[in-house]
């Protein structure tokens, strides 16, 4: 009986250990770590496709983690690169990759892409939207590929469709008025809106940095260059750039526009505001922001109905022969690991996600970003999703994706180099400093702000 007791006790203890060891990390699988910024909704989509990936690759374990914002991902990786503890895979923006390259631990993906056994076929490469795919080889040596596109977005112009129709306003297609009869300039439209509703701030622009950089692309004026000498990298103190910022300052001084930093929150808050203060509603009628944030640009229902419909159009341009909109949204980059099996497993996972039209379509519907694969636009559910495009919260994401997609030939990215992040931060701050410099600010004051911004970039990168 004693023996029986010992046997049973041993079996039960062993079983308990098996149950409790479900959380063990040491399960003999090749582990791929993936840092990203995905919130819970997107992590669920990713998890679903990891399950499918594991059906084909049961010996690979994907451990993924929302590290924080894009900057947190970058900062965490820079810290870990120094200690040799970097993840295998991470979300990235081009300027992040430029920072990582100094570590020599970023994998040239062409080594895998061109591999005859595990690489991409010509059809798979051709399935990527060309402009997005090309971003990965913009780091000085175009024979090397340091990132692949994951999902993309751009900036679009949201407008209060109901108000525009009621007041028979034309949509702005360019920034500045050519002459007095020009009713399709942003300048004319926001001036007119201010006359109709003096309590409004007609235009809200979320990203100051995007606005400045986009203007330099549209006007083909200097911004930055990936030059060897630090003094030659920050070129944005240019008379044409001073000129457009001075015009924006006039708009601001007239109460025609605001930005996220000036307003103190996403300007979608102003665009959708219905709250009355002293019997008046402080609101905007145009909001320029990310195409991925469309649902935030829709007002809440009042009772059973929406107080106004929201239209979406491309942002205005400076030159109809040089159409430019900023390319946003994450790419992914791969880091070398000591264990070659991890490197190979990481590539298999990248290949699975980025050649999978269903994943691309589903991730896009959940995120508001657009797919990077042409084939995703042929997935029946995504075709239905786009067909539903409309002007309210239920259907605005589809409309946004359509407008975003229609502009894919006009996407640009800025040169990425060590210090390009500083340039971006500084021009964003510069725009705020100039527009809020006060009505008495002189040309000399504004020139001084430009000089200070350039000098700050140079100092930070010496």
């Amino acid at each position: 009986m004693k023996k029986l007791f010992i046997v049973i006790f041993t079996i039960i203890c062993s079983l308990s250990l098996v149950v409790l060891s479900g959380c063990s990390k040491d399960d003999g699988k090749t582990t791929v770590t993936f840092y990203h910024t995905m919130g819970a909704n997107l992590r669920e989509v990713l998890d679903k496709y990891i399950v499918k990936f594991n059906e084909e690759n049961p010996d690979i374990k994907i451990v993924h983690e929302q590290v924080g914002s894009y900057d947190d991902v970058r900062d965490q990786i820079i810290t870990e690169l120094q200690a040799g503890r970097q993840p295998a895979l991470a979300y990235c923006y081009p300027d992040h990759v430029a920072s990582y390259l100094r570590s020599k631990k970023v994998v040239d993906l062409n080594e895998y892409i061109n591999d005859p056994e595990v690489g991409l076929t010509a059809d798979q490469i051709a399935d990527f939207i060309e402009g997005y795919y090309a971003e990965g080889s913009q780091f000085g040596d175009d024979t090397k590929m340091y990132s692949l596109p994951f999902s993309k977005s751009t900036e679009v112009m949201y407008y209060n469709k109901t108000f525009f129709e009621e007041n028979e306003l034309a949509l702005p297609t360019h920034w500045f008025s050519v002459d007095e009869a020009d009713t399709t300039s942003m300048e004319y439209v926001i001036g007119t809106i201010k006359t109709i509703d003096p309590n409004s701030v007609p235009l809200g622009y979320d990203s100051e940095a995007n606005w400045f950089i986009t203007m330099t692309e549209q006007l083909n004026t200097p911004y930055t260059a990936a030059a060897t000498d630090v003094e030659d990298r920050f070129l944005f103190n240019d008379p044409s750039n001073v000129s457009f910022l001075k015009k924006f300052k006039t708009w601001y001084d007239n109460g025609w526009m605001t930005t996220q930093l000036v307003y103190g929150g996403y300007t979608s808050g102003l665009f959708t505001n219905l709250k009355q203060t002293d019997g008046k509603i402080l609101r905007s009628y145009i909001s320029i922001g990310s195409s991925a944030g469309a649902t935030y640009q829709c007002p809440a229902k009042v009772g059973e109905t929406y107080p106004f419909e929201v239209g979406i159009a491309p942002i205005p341009q400076a030159d109809q022969d040089n159409l430019k909109v900023i390319s946003q949204g994450p790419s992914i980059t791969m880091f070398k690991q000591k264990d070659e099996a991890v490197n190979d497993a990481t590539w298999l996972f990248i290949k699975y996600l980025l050649t999978n039209a269903n994943f691309q379509a589903e991730f896009s519907m959940a995120s508001g970003y657009v797919p990077v694969l042409k084939s995703a636009f042929e997935v029946p559910a995504y075709i239905d999703f786009l067909a539903d495009a409309g002007y309210t919260k239920e259907t605005i994401a589809s409309l946004s994706a359509k407008v975003c997609m229609e502009q894919e030939d006009n996407y640009f990215t800025s040169p990425a180099f060590v210090g390009s992040t500083d340039a971006r931060d500084e021009v964003g701050q510069l725009l705020v400093s100039v527009i809020s410099a006060g009505k008495n600010a002189t040309d000399a004051d504004i020139n001084e702000l430009f000089i200070d911004a350039v000098n700050k970039c140079i100092t930070l990168n010496r």
Binding site: K2, L4, F5, I8, F9, I12, S16, V19, L20, C23, K25, A40, N41, E44, V45, K48, Q66, V67, G68, S69, D71, D72, D75, Q76, T79, Q260, Y263, G264, G265, Y266, G269, L274, K275, Q276, T277, G279, A294, T295, Y296, A300, K301, V302, G303, E304, P307, N358, E362, M365, A366, S367, G368, V379, A381, Y382, D384, F385, D388, E394, T395, A397
Partner: protein, 428 residues
């Protein structure tokens, strides 16, 4: 024989232990003791103690008191002069969700923040840029560093850093701020020491078990039993309220409908599923939240190859008819919460309008009404608009009305929540 009994006894104990490990522990408490040998980054920064007797919303620094605990990185405080309630989002950190959507380590983070501030003898808010309090991207919540002195201590501790160092938050632009170096070091240290969120272990307060399939009646008549549990049920959407909906299901045995508040969150596909008249199968986590009441959240949506956990549309355009109820029923039936009802012939006897500038409910009204048999019924409106004009007290004054809305409770008293002017009929 005695040995046999002992073996059975042993089996029962071990089986009980096994079962216990599958359940969540008490979701309202979490004890965490930090290893004292670890570096304490929370005292590495120094609080500038000048000008603390001032309002943070004016000067960017000042003493505050807690008004409401929301979650691990958001607390509502009352300012120094007690004139305003400040919604505050902690700078540099992002704790997992514990309201709206419950994520692993969200509850521990929430309880951690609460425990630190609940026992504090003094709390100070400080803006990132001196003298410049700013909002976060929502435009409604101040971004702040939160400092506190623990009971019987005169040492100011930086709670943002402390949450990072104990591995209860991700960074959120954690290195680009006034205490960025310390914040980043605290986060790196938590990761290196595998603390909590970074331990790779399960959150002891999170429910990892199987989904419980049940009726709405079973759910809402046993709220405490299902608190924190993943549930699946079917029902029809009766009202949309922002990012949330009310869903109800008729129960023949009880001869009444039972309703539940379901939070859809900001998923871009949510508005396509959460539509009035849609019959849905919902899978989400039940949460008996002290701030937001009982709700089901954590929904997922998919248009391609949905999993068992995604919301399923069973039917569209299902007719939703409010249940006609009498005052007695509203005042005595405790299970009418979140149901869609109609009440007739209510005489409006007094009106209160929310006037607080800080409130998104500014302009909403509470109508105190009487029925024909002199019973008092409360009707609460949202901010009502008619042709882009605010509907004011005058609209309801001395009127007899019939209303359609959702039953909810305010400070334990049932009321009918109106969402739309169309749901009011003026009888006379």
């Amino acid at each position: 024989m005695r040995m046999k009994r002992f073996i059975i006894f042993l089996l029962l104990i071990i089986a009980s232990l096994g079962l216990a490990s599958c359940k969540t522990t008490d979701p309202t408490s979490w004890d965490y003791v930090r290893d004292q040998s670890l570096t304490d980054f929370a005292i590495q920064a120094t609080l500038n103690e000048n000008n603390l007797n001032s309002d943070f919303d004016v000067t960017g620094r000042g003493y505050v008191t807690v008004e409401t605990f929301i979650d691990g990185d958001t607390v509502h405080f009352r300012n120094y002069s007690k004139t305003r309630i400040l919604k505050v989002r902690f700078i540099a950190i992002d704790t997992p969700e514990s309201t709206g959507k419950v994520e692993p380590w969200g509850k521990p983070a929430s309880l951690y923040t609460k425990s630190k501030l609940e026992d504090a003898q003094a709390i100070v808010l400080e803006s990132n840029e001196e003298g410049n309090p700013v909002f976060d991207s929502t435009g409604e919540r101040y971004l702040a560093w939160v400092w506190y002195q623990a009971k019987d201590s005169d040492v100011w501790r930086n709670l943002n850093v402390e949450i990072l160092q104990d591995g209860l938050a991700m960074g959120k632009n954690s290195s680009s701020n006034r205490y960025g170096t310390i914040a980043q070091a605290a986060l790196t240290d938590a990761r290196a020491n595998d603390l909590n969120l970074y331990s790779g272990e399960n959150d002891p307060l999170f429910f990892y078990g199987e989904t419980v399939e049940l009726t709405i009646k079973a759910l809402v008549t046993n709220k405490d039993a299902y608190n924190g549990i993943k549930v699946r049920f079917e029902g029809v959407v009766t009202k949309v309220d922002g990012n949330a909906v009310y869903i109800e299901q008729y129960d023949e045995d009880a001869n009444q409908a039972f309703g539940v508040y379901v939070y859809g969150g900001y998923a871009s596909l949510a508005p396509r599923f959460l539509v009035v008249g849609y019959q849905l199968i919902i899978t989400g986590t039940a949460d008996n939240n002290e701030n937001f009441g009982f709700q089901v959240s954590g929904l997922s949506f998919s248009l391609i190859d949905p999993t068992v956990n995604d919301v399923v549309i069973v039917a569209k355009n299902v007719e939703t008819t409010p249940t006609l109820i009498l005052a007695d029923e509203l005042l005595t039936n405790e299970y009418l919460d979140a149901t869609y009802v109609k009440m007739e012939n209510l005489q409006v006897v007094s009106i209160y309008t929310t006037t607080n500038d800080d409130s998104s409910s500014q302009g909403a009204m509470t109508l105190t009404c009487q029925t024909a048999d002199q019973q008092t019924i409360i009707v609460r409106t949202v901010v009502l608009m008619s042709n882009n004009e605010l509907v004011t007290e005058e609209y309801f004054q001395n009127k007899t009305i019939t209303v359609i809305g959702i039953v909810n409770y305010f400070e334990g008293v049932p009321q009918i929540q109106l969402f739309n002017l169309n749901d009011v009929t003026i009888i006379q």
